[in-house]
Amino acid sequence: MCGLCGALAGADHWADAAVTAGGTRSQRRQLRNRLANEVLAYYGLSLKEAVGGSPLLQNRTGQTALVPHLGALWPAAERLANRPLDPLDPDLIVALTRHGARARV
């Protein structure tokens, strides 16, 4: 499915596939959202779990967007951050590496 248009297909986004046997679907989503939050924090964004609904993305000025699946997260994040979010950005990679190293200590 299209990573950008996946909203149309809802729960069938490829990232939701039960690749690993461990945990429930909800637990897998929580783990993924926690990881996404560590990336989003670099851009001043946060993703909050919503009970019974789609997670809510928020920027520092309080603007929000619903993100029904992972594919919809990044276009919304770019809108709220008002900048490109590039996983190949060396500065982001340095920040994530430092963050990961601190977490391991």
Partner: protein, 351 residues
């Protein structure tokens, strides 16, 4: 959701530059009984739908698009045509076809067609993308690849590359074309249309979602990747990533390996973010993933933004659990891809 998408009608794209021999190939394929009942969508280019007349024997299930290019100007028409075709199938107005073949125009970029099929909320529940077959003319292919972005993109996204007109091209030219295509798209099978004993129908069947053919297909990916690594040597600490092609301006095929087990959550976050920012530039991605906690390999593949549902293989083809990604992209730096994937993965490991 399970990892296996079954019961969906495979859709093949036959693409190739103007005059490359797409319709000839399609005619050969349709004559083969092993293909089963097949519906064909062709698009009319110009005022006369010549292809339509060439394919009259499948006219019953043929919808002739009225004008323009399938991929760009009438993508909505394509969606509507396929929906209409499926509706007629359900109402028994056309035979219950088991496969759909779309022949594109010579100037078509096949990627939007893939997107149309997989993103449409109706079509994605009835159809899946099968092999993309690109026909390259042995006489004019090299020139077209050098001159036209469309031709390079058609070759780059192919699962099968059919080289036509070998009987009227000289051997050195054919060899140069083969080498060029292999650098551009190392994972695609190359077939000499005139000589190789592969039926046209076999080009369309036996794709990565076929349970019977899947293992062999992945084994071939890995062989290509290993051959390329062996053939292109190593430099410095560039141990696991290898530029394997530079064609035209900047389309590059490269491989990335990851030694440590891949955290699926990290991969999902990373790849969705990567495709959001660079999806236009990433023509194809194919991978065999060693996912943490999963003893068997996970296969993933996609075309630009379109990622197919991941599937499992029963065993590691070469007995070595390791994540290997093959990427064909334009203007994407493979070292950064490798570094980025590793950083995201370590982040998940630390979480």
């Amino acid at each position: 959701m399970t990892l296996v998408a079954s019961g969906l009608i495979p859709v093949n794209l036959i693409t190739g530059f103007l005059g490359s021999g797409k319709t000839t190939l399609l005619q050969c394929a349709l004559r083969s009984p092993e293909l089963g009942t097949t519906a064909v969508l062709i698009n009319e280019f110009g005022e006369v739908g010549l292809d339509h007349y060439l394919l009259q024997r499948v006219d019953e299930a043929t919808v002739l698009l009225e004008s323009g290019c399938v991929c760009c100007t009438i993508r909505g028409d394509l969606r509507d045509s396929i929906r209409d075709l499926y509706d007629r199938r359900e109402r028994s107005l056309v035979p219950p076809f088991e496969r759909l073949v779309i022949e594109t125009t010579g100037l078509a970029d096949p990627v939007p067609i893939v997107t149309t099929l997989t993103a449409d909320p109706v079509l994605c529940h009835h159809f899946r993308i099968g092999n993309i077959v690109t026909v390259v003319d042995a006489v004019n292919g090299l020139s077209n690849l050098a001159s036209f972005e469309e031709s390079r993109r058609q070759a780059a996204v192919a699962d099968r590359l059919v080289i036509s007109k070998c009987d009227i091209a000289d051997a050195p030219a054919i060899n140069r074309l083969r080498a060029s295509l292999r650098r551009l798209n190392p994972t695609a099978v190359q077939i000499d249309a005139a000589r190789d004993p592969v039926s046209a129908a076999r080009l369309l069947t036996g794709d990565i979602d076929d349970p019977v053919a899947k293992s062999e297909e992945v084994r071939r990916w890995l062989t290509e990747e290993q051959d390329l690594i062996a053939g292109h040597g190593h430099d410095g600490d560039d141990r696991h990533s290898h530029d394997i092609s530079r064609h035209g301006d900047d389309i590059v095929a490269f491989s990335v390996r990851l030694d440590e087990p891949l955290q699926w959550s990290a991969f999902a976050v990373w790849l969705t973010m990567l495709l959001n920012r660079h999806g236009r530039a990433i023509l194809r991605i194919k991978g065999l993933l060693h996912v943490a906690g999963v003893p068997t390999p996970v296969v993933i593949h996609g075309v630009q933004h379109t990622i197919h549902q991941p599937t499992h293989l029963a065993a590691w083809p070469d007995g070595a659990p390791q994540t290997r990604l093959i990427v064909i992209a334009k203007g994407v730096d493979r070292a950064r891809v490798e570094t980025s994937l590793a950083a995201f993965n370590r982040l998940a490991t630390a979480a």
